[in-house]
């Protein structure tokens, strides 16, 4: 059974007075502990889908089943409770967090809001979360703006896993990182997936990254799913025009090493 099933999702924006379909009749499923990547050029609807799934914006049409509930119809306490199971990590954690907040404060919020740990218990939980994402517990008292970009993205992941989610939406979560740091963050995400059985909706413009970590990929074009399937099979042999264009445009290193 799928963890998340999105069907016939639609969202229109208006551009110079004309309706513009940002997301147009999109359907997909994600199983437990599975990574589905969304790929596509700018404006193909990737981030709009992320925002719809997170209910940061409301859809014009479509359904979303998440953990067996009709997610779009939830409200109030039921919605808040279910939101703990559906977390997010964005490209730029500096924009997502108050830069002057301490790391401890950023991690304390979800534990308090979702009543996961008592006030007395929280410092210990925060230390455990930092350790879980490969950070020193001593980092807790540092301000978000004082730590490196890679450390900040680890804090964002710690915050996301604090509420024991079954699904995390990752919107270009490794795109701004240096390649050396990027590899470590991807390893951390894979490790969390194996240990905690977390599924990912992994949004990226980079097919190389998608191929490295995703089980399946949906390639989007102008708000619609152009093709979907096993990530390696689709990237090795894309059928859609946009899939072919994306693969052709991805730079490759020809290393003929002995």
């Amino acid at each position: 059974m799928s963890l998340l099933a999105v069907s016939n999702l639609a969202k229109r924006y208006h551009r110079r007075g004309k309706p513009f379909p940002a997301v147009d009749d999109v359907s997909f499923e994600i199983g437990p502990a599975e990574t589905l990547a969304l790929a596509g050029p700018s404006g193909s609807g990737k981030s709009t889908i992320a925002r719809l799934v997170l209910r940061l914006i409301e859809p014009d049409a479509g359904r979303m089943e998440f953990e067996g509930t009709d997610f779009f119809s939830l409200s109030g306490a039921a919605l808040r409770a279910r939101r703990a199971r559906l977390q997010m990590v964005f490209q730029d954690p500096l924009a997502a967090f108050n830069p002057r907040a301490t790391v401890a404060r950023v991690l304390d919020d979800p534990l308090r809001i979702h009543a996961i740990a008592s006030r007395a218990e929280r410092p210990r939980r925060i230390a455990a979360l930092l350790e879980r994402v490969g950070l020193d517990a001593g980092l807790a008292q540092r301000a978000i703006h004082e730590i490196s970009g890679g450390q900040r993205q680890r804090v964002a992941i710690a915050r996301a896993v604090a509420t024991r989610p079954s699904l995390i939406v990752l919107d270009e979560a490794v795109s701004a990182l240096d390649v050396s740091v990027r590899g470590q963050i991807l390893e951390l995400l894979l490790d969390l997936q194996r240990q905690e059985r977390i599924a990912y909706l992994f949004i990226s413009h980079d097919l190389g990254v998608i191929r490295a970590v995703a089980h399946r990929v949906a390639i989007l074009d102008a708000g619609r799913v152009a093709e979907v399937g096993d990530a390696r099979a689709v990237i090795a042999n894309p059928q859609s025009a946009i899939g072919k264009a994306l693969v052709a445009a991805t730079p490759t290193l020809n290393r003929n090493r002995a």
Binding site: P41, S42, G149, D178, V179, S180, R182, G183, L186, E187, L190, D191, R194, Q195, H205, D206, L207, G208, V209, R211, A212, V213, H215, R232, I235, A245, L246, V247, A248, A249, T250, P251, T252, L253, N254, R255, N256, R257
Partner: protein, 297 residues
């Protein structure tokens, strides 16, 4: 090979709130006339500082040591220009007046005339309230001494050369009416409007999606070949750089780690850091992390 410029023992130090940060240290590098050279590095490597130093765009507060020598024969001879030296085709928040007066060059090149600069974010290099035709024509007028009608004719030709659809209409368009890729084409047209010897592209495709990135890279390749320009391609992406550059220089923490022919750097890097950058690249032929032994818990 004729050197366009020789960088000798270049150091740049930034001062912020009494804290000194060394951005470049003892860097020496030759840039040959007509070559395509990529400068590769991660954040904080000093690659953008190097680009700004060459273009004489570092802030006045930067402390600069060493020399950048230009080959006089490679620079345009002085023409009667309408505006004095120092005006760039690109625009910065501070404007020209706050930029350093660089003592370390001879045969000082003129930004915009001898050097074209393309930045990462075309939205901040273009004036949002000036039609794009005028922005390009202004560069030709300033540096080539053309009248407005000739400068506009040149702007139109440039918009054709960067393959903007409907160049006649585009002359009168404003930046916000264009997509990110189209804006970068306009920024490139402005950068080459005065026929510079050197084109510097600093992460010029990093904000674009993969498909548009490939289009802009092939545009840069074609323009550089057509005009016989020297290209300095600044990037964090070694695979992308390798598709375009004949030579690659790798920077780390403000120092030049190694430089060489692209093929040698990619296939037989001498330095361990260069190898780690290559290994970290996730290409379409890499073993997926999902499958790598030892990755499991």
């Amino acid at each position: 090979m004729t050197a366009l410029l020789s960088i000798r023992d270049l150091s740049v130090l930034y001062r912020r709130d009494d804290v000194e940060v060394v951005a470049l240290e003892g860097l020496s590098l030759e840039v040959a006339a007509g070559e395509r050279l990529a400068i590769i590095g991660e954040s904080g490597s000093g690659k953008s500082t190097l680009a700004l130093a060459i273009a004489r765009l570092l802030p006045e507060s930067a402390v600069i040591g060493g020399r950048i020598e230009w080959s006089a024969s490679q620079l345009q001879t002085s023409r009667s220009v309408i505006r004095p030296a120092g005006e760039m085709s690109g625009r910065t928040k501070e404007g020209a007046k706050d930029r350093q007066r660089l003592p370390l060059t001879n045969n000082a090149p003129i930004g915009g005339r001898d050097i074209g600069f393309v930045f990462q974010d075309p939205s901040s290099s273009l004036d949002p309230v000036m039609p794009i035709g005028k922005q390009i024509a202004e560069v030709a007028r300033t540096h080539l001494g053309l009248g407005w009608s000739q400068a506009y004719a040149r702007a139109k030709t440039l918009l054709e050369r960067v393959r903007l659809p409907d160049p006649d209409a585009a002359l009168h368009a404003y930046p916000h009416q264009l997509s990110g890729g189209q804006k970068q084409r306009v920024a490139i047209a402005a950068a080459i409007a005065a026929g510079p010897r050197l084109l510097i592209a600093d992460e010029a495709t990093s904000a674009l999606d993969t498909i548009v990135q490939a289009e802009i890279v092939s545009l840069i390749r074609r323009l550089v070949a057509e005009d016989g320009m020297t290209l300095l391609f600044i990037s964090h992406d070694i695979a992308l750089a390798a598709t375009l550059a004949e030579r690659i220089a790798v920077l780390r923490h403000g120092e030049l780690i190694e430089s060489g022919e692209t093929r040698q750097i990619v296939e037989a890097p001498r330095n361990a850091y260069t190898r780690s950058l290559l290994d970290a690249h996730l290409g379409l032929d890499a073993v997926p992390l999902l499958d790598r032994p030892g990755a499991s818990a």
